[in-house]
Amino acid sequence: MKERSSHLLTSSPPHLHPYRRRASRNAQLTGLAFAAPWIVGFIVFFAYPVIASAYYSLCSFDAIRPPRFIGFENYRRMFTEDDLFWKSLWNTLYMVVAGLPVGLAASLGIALLLNRKVKGMTVYRTIYYLPSITPVVATSILWLWLLNPEMGLINIALGKMHLMQPGWLTDPAWAKAALILMGLWGAGGGMVIYLAALQDVPESLTEAAALDGAGKLQQFRHVTLPMLSPVILFNLIMGLIGSFQYFTQAYVMTSGGPQDSTMFYALHLFNRAFLDFRMGYASAMAWVLFLVTLVCALLVFKTSARWVYYAGEGR
């Protein structure tokens, strides 16, 4: 407190001294009062649930009788007895490793396309963006229909081109690919973020590169891409967190099938908690999910020093 006020005294103009001195005493109360909604909410809806969840994860808990402490039994069962745990983890990692990069690349590609200066650009941008704000349940129903193996528009089109017509959501080998394809339709969400960043890339930089004899591809590789790298990192981390929690589409479209090929981690967890009422087990699964997400995010951050360029940092 003392330190703070003395800091304020030295940094503010002299005529403000009496006021600042009074303010800094009241500021503590005012600040707390205005932040009170968050602080209360944080304790009730975050801090307590986090602690309770950690405890439940060590319990047998059916949400009716009080939790019964069983040590690390939930974790042991998860790792050694629950095949669906490993299957769902694998399915989820598949979406992270295969689906996420495809989605990120699509968003970036569309952003580059939409960053050109041609007439009617707002119309194009709107069309590309709209799918990403369409309600997930509506999107899921629409794509159930589009991906229908016999009657769906996609297979009709593939048939017209004499290409293979996969069973999509009815074929365990294609179900995840179908969901990734559907995800591409929503690539406009990430696109806007890239677009905002692209408009911040100074033209002088690409022009300078062009003067030095860099072709379009080299300009992209050595100027645009480094300038975009912080945003790519942002989208990558957000996408990572989102992919690990992939739920609604699978719940609505496949309920995890066929043959558990779309049984994702969050869906398995939800079913254990609210279908079987194994709340302790579900809590243990949630903590493993957190750790896996955290490790992946940290790995990304660790490598990011090598590929993310921060303008103004100078290197």
Partner: protein, 279 residues
């Protein structure tokens, strides 16, 4: 010179070509949704596919909307959305004011707590949160969906804080010297100056709760309190093959979002640049 102009024209033509081709791919699913919704049953499964429903079955819409009480679901959804918008805008602006305009110890602590809530998967707090609401006897009511927004959320608080920071401190300092309290500065200075940012936060809150699925799935167990998303999902599991009705219902859920987007396009874009995600 003229050769250059030719090249520019060619370039523009090519750009439009690519943009239209990919744009069609993005637009086609929407078209197919509406077309399917308007088809008589026989044309839904016709081979080759029917592109233009003839005659368009407008009655599919009232049929879908009365078969399942979608009118009621819409009202339920709107009520939840309205309370979400109100709670989010109110709570987040208060907290953001504290973070942006008041110098107090503990601001950093609030920041870290915000970050923590963003990083931790919702699944971790899901079970205890559920048991809290159950012990309050709130399951089956909309309270678990509309009370938490009144405590703010990290994303919106951060967005508003970023905006409040751009309002010069000289303004609030001058008001203080004139004897204005912090509550006065907040209501009479900061809020009026922040209308665009508040609109963005409200808009995101609206769309978020309109599209929310997991919340209603967890807490609404009475059919009469269903929202559109959960009502639509139940409809699929019961009438999986009635594609024209399903499409009509999905279109009805989607159209308001599209209309809102067109009305509030600038607010949207503002929000995206405001979050300061550009590094």
């Amino acid at each position: 010179m003229s050769r250059r102009r030719w090249l520019a024209a060619l370039d523009a033509l090519l750009s439009h070509g690519v943009l239209i081709a990919i744009g069609l791919l993005f637009f086609l699913p929407f078209y197919w949704l509406v077309a399917t919704a308007l088809k008589p049953d026989a044309q839904v499964f016709a081979m080759p596919p029917v592109w233009v429903p003839h005659p368009p079955q407008w009655r599919n819409f009232p049929r879908a909307l009365t078969y399942v009480p979608f009118g009621l679901y819409t009202i339920n959804t709107l009520r939840i959305c309205a309370l979400n918008v109100l709670g989010t805008v109110l709570a987040c602006s208060l907290v953001a004011y504290s973070l942006a305009k008041v110098r107090w110890k503990g601001r950093e602590w609030v920041f870290w707590s915000m970050l923590a809530t963003m990083i931790l998967p919702g699944q971790v707090t899901m079970v205890p949160t559920f048991t809290i609401f159950r012990s309050l006897h709130w399951i089956g009511t909309i309270l678990p969906l509309v009370v938490p927004p009144f405590f703010g959320n990290a994303f919106s608080i951060f967005l508003l804080r970023q905006f409040f920071m751009t309002i010069p401190d000289e303004l609030s300092d001058a008001a203080r010297i004139d004897g204005c309290s912090d509550l006065g500065i907040y209501t009479r200075l900061i809020l009026p100056l922040s209308k665009p940012a508040l609109a963005t936060v409200g808009l995101f809150a609206f769309i978020g709760s309109w599209n929310d699925f997991l919340g209603p799935l967890l807490y609404l167990n009475d059919e009469r309190s269903y929202t559109l998303s959960i009502g639509l999902q139940r409809f699929v599991s019961q009438h999986g093959a009635e594609w024209s009705m399903l499409s009509a219902a999905s279109a009805v859920m989607t159209v308001p979002i599209i209309i809102i987007f067109f009305l509030a396009q600038r607010t949207f874009i503002q929000g995206i640049t405001l979050t300061g995600i550009k590094g």
